[in-house]
């Protein structure tokens, strides 16, 4: 089915951060890869509460978008084994496995750095609950 084909290719390029460049367009997209894509993007997105959508933080929390994959992996492993002290990250790093850390590293390294802003506040309207 044509729709599915373009859909999957776009999905992998735009949201998985998989290295589909150059001759990679000729690559075979495997069921395993697709499964990882779906798996990693929700895990990566759950980092957004502190690190922003696709890793673009608006606060003092580090931006993960565009971070070198080897650096990301090294920091996560250091949080995991306790060699890098943390207030909260050790609780997360210990809960995810090394394969997931590598996929996250790849995912975040390929996200574009953009200036991320919190939404503008408003005055609470009288008719709100």
């Amino acid at each position: 089915m044509k729709l599915k084909a373009w859909f999957l290719v776009n999905l992998l390029i735009t949201s998985a951060g998989l290295p589909l460049t150059g001759n990679a367009a000729d690559a075979v997209v495997s069921a395993d890869t697709l499964s990882n894509t779906f798996h990693i993007r929700t895990l990566a997105a759950s980092c957004a509460a502190c690190h922003g959508t696709q890793g673009n933080s608006t606060g003092i929390t580090p931006t993960l978008a565009g971070v070198d994959a080897r650096y990301f992996t090294a920091q996560m492993l250091a949080f995991k084994d306790g060699s890098r002290p943390a207030t909260v990250m050790h609780h997360h790093a210990k809960g995810i496995n090394v394969a997931e850390i590598n996929f996250l590293a790849n995912y975040f390294s390929q996200q574009k750095r953009i200036s991320s802003q919190p939404p503008k506040t408003q005055t609470l309207k009288a008719n709100h609950e």
Binding site: N10, A48, T58, V88, G95, Q117, P119
Partner: protein
């Protein structure tokens, strides 16, 4: 390896071009035609519902229509709303519009209230119209149960005794009452039987009120009547903070479910106590939100919605998914959890509607901060992973709480809020 898609370069360029064209044509919702993969209707524009709508649009590359039905015109954050009671935040610091998420992602928005859900006809009926869906997501938050406290149900009673458990004017009202209370007065609040929205929230609230009293009404007292046998979340940390930071100010009484509330005298009767308050805050027990009840997603003897944790599809009604506080997950009903469930649900719906299998092993993180005064915060953080045997999300190894509250965590908590607001609303 199971080959499912093989494309040569020429075919790839062709398909990518076609996708680009489709993307452009579906940024506009003035068109009557359905996008190629169908329509998802989302009931509720809170943390869960808005996140689901945004990520369905993002992850389907605009090929699934997302329509949110929300009765309020504004988003008011429950996280950080206890700081309004403490005095370090205003309600207007926590109030936002939906304009950016609508514009940036092409989310369609109906400012309306659901009256009927017809799951057989796959249709939602609102006060001012109706809409059909391919899949429906219900994200209504919690509904309060007044069976045991019927005299607290009216708007007039809640003007006297606000719950302030949905951020908005009741939060402002409670703050005003605390400001007007004389020094030496008594603030009484309760903790409903778990599960309820935001497990550490009531204890954070006691801290925030204590923080305000400590500076402005140093002889005022706080009584916390807890229906649970002990502090439900961050017990060690709250116990320590109350003993050290607010010594002698907070009288904590566990196993103290309310039996009766007299509105005019602000007197609470429990199984063991009778307490008269100057300012009274009653947080009623809770169940899945009204639209979930309306759609028949709860059983009569159990007030929360049972779902598959791979798709968040209801176990009772097909093609209806439930996310956020209404879900029976055995996990904390937090804003971060609501957004994580929303993304797993969005991911599964995009997979299913494009003819693929959902992720068989979802995993996500939850971080929940509580402020103990205007600057210091502490957290509980866990990774949750799907257990294929038990078919539930279970806590992974390594989760835990802060060693103690700190200003550094206060700054991280503030960054958490800025980022989750940005993620949900832009």
């Amino acid at each position: 390896m199971n080959k499912i898609v093989t494309l040569n370069r020429r075919a790839f360029i062709k398909t990518a071009g076609a996708a680009g064209a489709l993307l452009l044509s579906h940024n506009s919702f003035s068109r009557a035609s359905k996008p190629p993969l169908g329509r998802v209707v989302i009931v509720g524009g809170g943390y869960a519902g808005t996140t689901a709508a945004k990520y369905i649009r993002m992850w389907s590359l605009g090929n699934i229509e997302a329509v949110v039905i929300e009765k309020s015109a504004q988003f008011v954050s429950c996280p950080l709303s206890n700081l309004v009671l403490g005095g370090s935040k205003s309600i207007n610091d926590l109030t936002f519009g939906y304009d950016l998420v609508k514009k940036n992602h092409g989310v369609k928005w109906l400012n309306d209230e659901v009256t009927t859900i017809d799951s057989a006809a796959k249709k939602v009926i609102m006060q001012r119209g109706e809409i059909s869906y391919d899949r429906l997501i219900i994200a209504p938050g919690v509904d309060f149960i007044y069976d045991a406290l019927p005299n607290l149900q009216s708007a007039e009673a809640q003007q006297q005794i606000p719950h302030a458990w949905k951020a908005g004017w009741q939060t402002v009202n409670l703050r005003k009452q605390l400001e007007a209370m004389p020094d030496g007065g008594i603030f009484v609040m309760n903790v409903p039987k778990a599960p309820y929205r935001c497990p550490p929230g009531p204890y954070e609230r006691a801290c925030q009120v204590a923080s305000y009293f400590k500076t402005h009404k140093p002889t005022a007292k706080i009584i916390v009547l807890d229906a649970n046998p002990e502090i439900v979340s961050k017990k060690g940390l709250f116990t320590k903070v109350w003993a050290e930071m607010y010594a002698g100010m907070i009288d904590y009484r566990p196993n103290n479910a309310m039996v009766e509330v007299d509105v005019s005298s602000k007197t609470v009767t429990t199984d063991f106590d009778k307490v008269k308050a100057d300012v009274l805050n009653i947080i009623p027990p809770q169940r899945a939100g009204k639209p979930a009840q309306m759609a028949g997603l709860t059983e009569t003897d159990y007030p929360w919605c049972e779902v598959s944790f791979l798709t968040y599809e209801s176990k009772l009604v097909p093609n209806i998914h439930v996310i956020g506080d209404s879900v029976s997950a055995g996990l904390p009903k937090s804003a971060h959890m609501a957004t994580s469930q929303a993304r797993v649900c969005a991911n599964a719906i995009v997979a299913l509607m494009s003819g693929n299998a959902p992720d068989p092993t979802p995993v996500f993180a939850n971080t929940c901060y509580s402020y103990v005064n205007d600057k210091q915060a502490m957290h509980v953080a866990n990774v949750y992973r799907y257990d294929a045997g038990k078919k539930i999300m279970v806590s992974a190894d390594g989760g835990g709480v802060s060693t103690s509250p700190s200003e550094q965590e206060g700054q991280y908590a503030s960054a958490w809020a800025a980022n989750i607001w940005s993620d949900v609303l832009t």
